[in-house]
Symmetry: C2
Subunit: 367 residues, 2 copies
């Protein structure tokens, strides 16, 4: 068992991004990072749903874990009502209606529900739900660790690596996807340097990836998203690694807005572009044209949240008071811009994804 290591008041402590204690879900509050390290306690499925929606927890695999644990909470709560099935369905829909793009959320919830259906008593329902949620989390941590080991093989000593958004510990239960290979490389003694796209509008790069790299003492620099192309053009970036919220069978990658631009510019400059994903992020049921891109509030662009010189939380407006903004949260990068996928089953070219379809169903059926 591995845990992410967090420096708190100068001491190393072990944490995971999200875990469950009895009927309570606990998670690192990612809206407070990098300023404060706080644990958010969610006492029921309703609070868990709200935490997903408000991005207290975010990142595809972490959202999956939150969905799984939230479904356990929903199951526990539903046993206390007179209509278990109807109530559970209603509660679960609340969990599903939080964020539309990450497939892990729906996969995880459905896996727990499928197990619950095998039960006949309150006790069985709860136990089956809890066991399946724990299994999803175990698989997730294992998958991320394997992604790190496979990805490490691609990283040479001295590499400078660009990443976009946060696909680290905080986006998963542990290790991360895009950052896992960097952690494994660094722990194995390789020199690495990370260019961290700040990742507007929510600044997950500047806030979360930078914070994670600080914990691991990995050298890095934050850059404006606009500067990634500059460093690629100057050959100061050896490879790009990003995560993904959804990968379709044609090899298209739905990920944080801006990923598409970075991939196009990487290809133009002959820089390899890797997408690190657990198998749970592969969605073979739909094509890329069916993916619904979440449009978030324009206020996320117009207001920037941080702490001021008095170390107090504050929000500043960066535009005229009447301005409107458009804010798509994700974009889709076609397979032609992707060098390879780094998964827990190995490294695959986009056109090899089809054969993973079989492997994936094997994996799920045997877990």
């Amino acid at each position: 068992v591995t845990y992410l290591r967090v420096k708190i008041d100068g001491k190393m402590k072990d944490f995971r991004t999200i875990w469950m204690e009895n009927s309570v879900v606990k998670m690192i509050d990612q809206t407070k990072l990098p300023y404060k390290f706080e644990i958010f306690t969610s006492k029921d499925h309703h609070e868990t749903a709200r935490a997903i929606k408000n991005m207290v927890v975010r990142g595809a695999p972490a959202i999956g874990a939150a969905g799984a644990y939230g479904t356990v909470q929903a199951t526990i709560e539903a046993t206390k009502t007179s209509s278990f099935d109807k109530t559970l369905k209603k509660y679960v829909n609340e969990l599903k209606n939080t964020r539309p793009t990450a497939v892990d959320l729906f996969h995880a919830i459905d896996r727990v529900l499928d197990q619950v259906r095998n039960g006949t008593t309150n006790g069985e329902w709860i136990e089956l739900a809890r066991n399946e949620a724990d299994e999803i989390v175990r698989e997730s941590v294992y998958a991320c660790k394997r992604i790190g080991e496979y990805g490490n093989k691609l990283i040479k000593n001295g590499y400078k690596i660009l990443t976009h958004c946060n696909a680290g510990w905080l986006a998963c239960v542990d290790w991360g996807t895009a950052l896992a290979p960097i952690y494994v490389a660094h722990r194995s003694g390789k020199d690495v340097f990370v260019f961290v796209d700040e990742t507007r509008p929510r600044l997950q790069g500047a806030k979360l990836t930078a914070w994670e790299l600080e914990q691991e003492c990995i050298p890095y620099a934050i850059i404006a998203d606009n500067a990634a192309g500059y460093y690629m053009q100057k050959r100061e970036i050896d490879m790009v690694i990003v995560g993904a919220d959804r990968v379709t069978v044609d090899g298209s990658v739905t990920n944080k807005i801006g990923t598409y631009e970075k991939a196009v510019v990487a290809k133009e400059n002959g820089i390899p572009f890797y997408v690190a994903v657990p198998m749970s992020t592969l969605d073979f049921d739909i094509t890329r044209d069916e993916i619904k891109i979440e449009e978030r509030s324009g206020n996320e662009v117009l207001y920037v949240y941080g702490i001021n010189h008095r170390e107090k939380f504050n929000e500043v407006r960066i535009a005229p008071s009447k301005s409107k903004a458009l804010n798509p949260a994700f974009d889709i990068t076609p397979s032609e811009f992707i060098t390879s996928f780094i998964t827990e089953k190995g490294i695959f070219k986009p056109n090899e994804l089809k054969k993973l379809k079989r492997k994936k169903s094997e994996m799920i059926s045997t877990c």
Copy 2:
């Protein structure tokens, strides 16, 4: 004579970005926009140099005008010392050492100095400097207006146009470069919509371009720089127009960081990418490899400046307290990504720039 129109307390007033009254240079304080409309008064060359450095005035043609007026101030001040030539040289170097990338600054200062050399008395020196500075400003306004008229021919009714950074009125003395065609199109009755890249790290798009478009009542939306590719991929952008700080004879464009990424993604999607520049921005003396890219403080990335909910100026930190950032202010877009240049002499393909070299020397010699 045209002037940019500013709504102040509900009334339209005419302004230019920068002008001179006796020995005082006045300019719209662009560090206060879009929150407050204030005129910054610079009483000597030293304050003018600091205003350029601190981006009270910014944008290649506006910096050129500031450099010209600052040189008039330096000339006036030097006449009051015992060593005119030596002092003038020292003062002018202070003006030149403010921002290294925009060629207009150096061109404008040298043009004024060349005229001053023709004088022999204090009175002549000052008059020659002032006349040449006024001429530079006249040419700049005329050039921007012509750029608007030529560029307007490329804009069809209903066009959605992406722009990066601010190359409008505020970047020039009047009209703008990239925005001039949009203003001419809108005033001639065409429907246009502008996607405004917020333009991190300094947010000139969200702060200045949005403010200008508000004054002209042109519909627009601010987007995170990361979202430009998304809208290009969806074919919601018909054309891109940007300005430039320097264009070399091979057709390479030095402009605000992020321009290169937008140009690469535009080409990938078959969207025309135009660069609007006055001839004064063409630099035929150097190649693109000799261009010095300004590296600005990483704090411009790590801290975001705006106003809080009490309408007070505030600055928030968006990263861990120990984080470092890299902050190149410009990038270089090779000619292969540029559809055409929109200049006051007409519209030219990158490989036609060489013939402008002759036209340019003609223009300067006859002005």
